[in-house]
Subunit: 232 residues, 2 copies
């Protein structure tokens, strides 16, 4: 961006974006954090984020900075919330548009980058004290994600194509941060008729081998077009 | 706000807020529009909105401008979405944080004000071509509202305390913009056990008098705390 002096008749806040990237891996929900290499909060963990250029939308900015600071490419992000508290940044008045995403950690490679010494996944239950109001942004994102998984079947992207009902339940438990009753969970899911049981079963497990299932995307699209509501 | 020359090393977009205020009245869903008295789009209908001051949050700005342009006070608004398309305003790069609300029209008084010759309710199906990208903002707000009424019982604030099941159905039909099957609608609602039938019935109606119901807020709070999901 061109440097210089840009003057306006009224003061203007600066504008940034921040990203809450949730990842699912080995039964645990995680969030992607970077270690800051610049002031303020140098050396502290923070969400990947930075200033919006004049020739890009906030979404394009969020994606650009995600690549720059964490190496993550091609992530589908959704707008979460815009933060405008007066003293949220010690430098000056800065408004931030937050985005969030949920992805399968093993599908992506994460690396540090400019302004970020390290980019690393942190378990959602052990997120440290973050720079700025980033703990609050993580909380808002987590609440939104937990609300959403109950009425949109977004979790299936995080599992292997074939999964057992126990794996599916563990996914929901990790995202919701709560234990679910096994019988109720299965009853609700099977009632929706969105899972196709396969004849194939788990192999090489110590316990009784469980049957694999696949998520029936076509059936879901068909039911949704008829006014069906996914609900778990 | 102090006038003068405010200079920054990098260019900054201007920041505004816009409000989509939905109102329910006599069986119809409406949206509150103002007629602009300044350029651009002078004389066109638009959402109430304006520039954010440095000493206020975007939410405080939205409420301040709502009072200034429409006289509406004490409205509970929720953040909707932040718009950042590059050419959304012909003046310059302007980012807008949109808010929305749903209220009962007869509970409020609406008046025009500064920068707004007239403030007026418009039926949702007859919204004219609006200034800027405001038709798009109305659409996003309407989609959000329609999603929300299906899983949060927000509609009851719009009815009288005592209502018939037909009045309740008409409310949902007005918001969803679709006819609902009477039998299914009643079955779903009665199954949730959130409505208390009264012995009192409608009076002075030509057809068979229908029984009044009230919404059981206490029961809803109780069920929600046990993991119950409202769904219609």
């Amino acid at each position: 961006m061109r440097k210089g002096s840009f003057c306006y008749p009224y003061p203007r806040p600066a504008l940034t974006t921040d990203c809450v990237i949730f990842g699912f891996d080995e039964g645990e929900l995680k969030v992607l954090l970077i270690k800051r290499t610049t002031d303020p909060f140098r050396g502290k963990w923070a969400l990947p984020g930075g200033f919006v250029n004049m020739d890009e939308t906030t979404e394009a900015c969020a994606k650009r900075i995600l690549i720059k600071e964490t190496g993550l490419k091609g992530v589908f992000i959704e707008q979460l919330f815009t933060l405008s508290d007066l003293n949220r940044d010690p430098r000056e008045r800065i408004i931030s548009v937050a985005y969030y995403a949920l992805l399968k950690i093993s599908d992506y490679v994460v690396t540090g980058g400019e302004d970020a010494a390290i980019a690393q996944w942190h378990g959602i239950s052990t997120v440290p004290k973050l720079a700025f109001d980033h703990n609050k942004i993580v909380k808002v994102a987590l609440d939104r994600l937990r609300g959403k998984v109950r009425y949109v079947p977004i979790g299936f992207e995080l599992l292997s194509e074939k999964f057992t009902l126990t794996q599916l339940q563990h996914l929901y438990e990790a995202i919701l941060g709560a234990s679910l009753d096994k019988r109720n969970f299965r009853k609700k899911f099977l009632k929706m008729k969105l899972l196709k049981p396969l004849t194939e079963k788990q192999e090489g497990v110590a316990h009784k081998a469980a049957r694999f299932h696949i998520f029936d995307k076509k059936k879901y699209a068909e039911l949704t077009s008829k006014g069906f509501n996914f609900e778990i």
